[in-house]
Amino acid sequence: MNIDAFLDSLANARSDASFARTAAGLTSLQAYDSIRANGFDPFVHEAILDRIALDIESIPVGTSARVALDSVIQALPFWDTEGTIRIGHRSVYTALLNYGQALGDEGEWPLAENVYARVGMDAELDGETWLAAEARLLMGRACRMCADWQTSQLAYRRAYELGMDAGDMAIALRAQIGEANNLWTRGDFPAGKRLLARTAHRARHSCPTILPRVTVAMAGLANAAGEYERAIQITFDLLQTVARDDEVRYQALVDLAAYLVDYGLPSVAAKALRLVEAAAPEAGVRRHAQLNRFFLAAHHDTEQEFTASYVAFSEEVLAPRQQTQLALFAAQGYRRFSRFDSAQTSAEHALVLAKQYEFFQLVFEAETELHEIEAARTVDAIPLAPASVPPARKRRGKTLYRSTTGARPSPRIRRVAESLENMARQLGSTDGL
């Protein structure tokens, strides 16, 4: 088993919790390897599993990694159990995939990639084609997050083939969406667009359930290509059609908020994010929306609002990546309000966290932020603009929106903003929004 990523993570772990979490994961994978090779022997493996269970107790309660590792060690003793199907193998592979997802949620993408690669290979050798396809699909995403583009492409292609072999068109088409996302993320918009159009065509005929995901990817591409209005319109149209699918609905709302910010309507974006915070069933999605809204507060709200949301947020238990982002956004907010000492402290904290957990993109952003703070200190005489968004005014019961540039948004975008307000009203928390 390739355990380099785990060893690196252990060597760089600077807190007991992080060390215990990685160590428990590594030991679980080693136990899995041993059980897979030699079968489950209670005299040998029970002691190991007990030790892992003790390690797991040092992981904060409620984190997804803890739950996932718990299910791995619960499934391992059943490895050799067979019935009409190999139930032991299936449950262990599923538990390991859950563990990989938990690692991904916490931003530990290299570790997640390792786990997915292992499951993908073993499940394929076992003839568990569906699970192998799923593992390769997840591996494609993990590699993309590690900027390992080639491996990501290979994983997506294999996921496509295995998905077709498993008779699951949804996996095959999701693999193609992943491949298209890789293309446009690297700037190849035409190729990404072509692949998405092809995927949409196939999805329409063979697997309509996947169409919303194609639309989400198309909107992402449009936004990346600078077609903000189109991105907003596509996502908003999608929202009208996926009222019953919570997973896509809230992802679309978070995306819509990001596009609205890029378009220059942060106040409307904040409304979309508050909707997600108030109604999304998954805690991870709610937290994501909360963090995005804090970013908006740091860049567009008043000082009081920013400070209040920072205080509220700093009491939450966050994953390492989220902690780093929170510190970075706080630094950006403090800088905007000319509180340079606090900004410097936050940026340095973000830098330490980003280095500790190897979030290289965030290391770069934190370093840039430190330079910006230094630069702002030297020109302190010129105050930075406070809240840059003109507040939305009301006239004859209608809200008049203004973008950050002062321009009036197009009628289509105004309709989107009004609909978001209506959705918020329907949710019954208009005051809060």
């Binding site: 139930i87 299936r90 859950n98 050798l125 569906w130 699909l137 008779g167 699951d168 005929h205 697997c207």
Partner: protein, 299 residues
């Protein structure tokens, strides 16, 4: 189609969203209601969370299903409580398992729920295929039996070989020795059989059935149905075949070969007596006869 479910509220919502308008759900509130449901004469599919069952209840369910066969789907997370009951169900029933927590769990659940196996067709087919299945090695026989019963299995011959822990060539050899036409034909037959109930007894659109089966379109489904059952999906829906007739047609397509004709010992290359190296090509007696006749005609 109707389904009796004993699941957590979140899982029930997921089943609802998968079913949409293609079926109805009877929610069972506790294991007592489940036990009452087990002996009812309705032919509903059962969807259970093994985590909500004790091992003794799982035992009872297994015994009851052996007596009153019905389609069973186990839908749960991976926990010790769930696994203990799940193992009993896996060992004593032909339940189909869907574990929660993977991104595409929905499509797997959709397959399991919409393609509920037709118990009678499965039983009839297994009775007809018994002489052939008897000739297979134990592992392969068990796997095929499960596949015919619950429609859950590998979709390619290579995965079937991997799942039964034999080499692909051995799989082909074993199947042909038992009189099966080919591994691919067996897999297609399992797929078609798994859709039989969805086509004949539900209102799920046929295009959707084809999609859930993993076919590109309804036309591909029709091609397979025509090949194996000699009927199209629309015709099958309007004028359903009795399960015994469908089983008979499937059996004929599956066993075009006579069992034992290509027994392994006959097909192995043999050494020519007196020669250390050379191998004699083994051909059928019939072919030998033909060759001799042709040679004499040439003379």
């Amino acid at each position: 189609m109707r389904y009796a479910v004993l699941l957590s509220p979140q899982a029930i919502a997921r089943v609802h969203s998968v079913l949409a308008d293609n079926g109805a759900i009877d929610v069972l509130l506790d294991t007592r209601a489940l036990l009452a449901e087990l002996v009812s004469p309705h032919d509903e599919g059962l969807i259970l969370d093994p985590a909500l069952l004790s091992t003794s209840i799982a035992d009872t369910i297994a015994s009851s299903i052996a007596e009153y066969p019905r389609a069973l789907i186990a839908y749960s997370s991976v926990t010790t409580a769930a696994l203990e009951s799940a193992v009993i169900l896996a060992q004593r029933t032909s339940a189909r398992f869907v574990f929660r927590g993977t991104p595409n769990e929905r499509s797997l659940l959709e397959q399991a729920v919409l393609l509920l196996p037709d118990i009678n067709l499965g039983n009839d087919l297994l009775v007809l295929l018994e002489p052939n299945l008897e000739l297979l090695p134990h592992g392969l026989r068990r796997r095929l039996t499960t596949m015919f019963r619950n429609g859950d299995g590998p979709f390619t011959p290579d995965s079937l070989a991997a799942a039964t822990a034999v080499a692909r060539r051995s799989l082909d050899r074993n199947l042909s020795a038992a009189g099966f036409t080919s591994a691919r034909r067996v897999i297609e037959a399992v797929r078609v059989a798994s859709a039989f109930r969805a086509i004949t007894a539900s209102r799920t659109p046929l295009g959707h059935v084809a999609m859930v089966l993993g076919y590109k379109s309804k036309r591909t489904l029709d091609t397979q149905l025509k090949l194996l059952l000699d009927i199209t999906s629309s015709k099958l829906r309007t004028d359903p075949l009795p399960s015994s007739e469908a089983a008979n047609r499937l059996m004929i397509q599956l066993t075009a070969r006579e069992p034992g004709k290509y027994a392994q010992s006959d097909r192995m290359p043999q050494k020519i007596p007196g020669s250390g190296r050379a191998l004699k090509l083994v051909v059928d007696d019939q072919s030998n006869e033909d060759a001799r006749r042709n040679a004499s005609a040439d003379k």
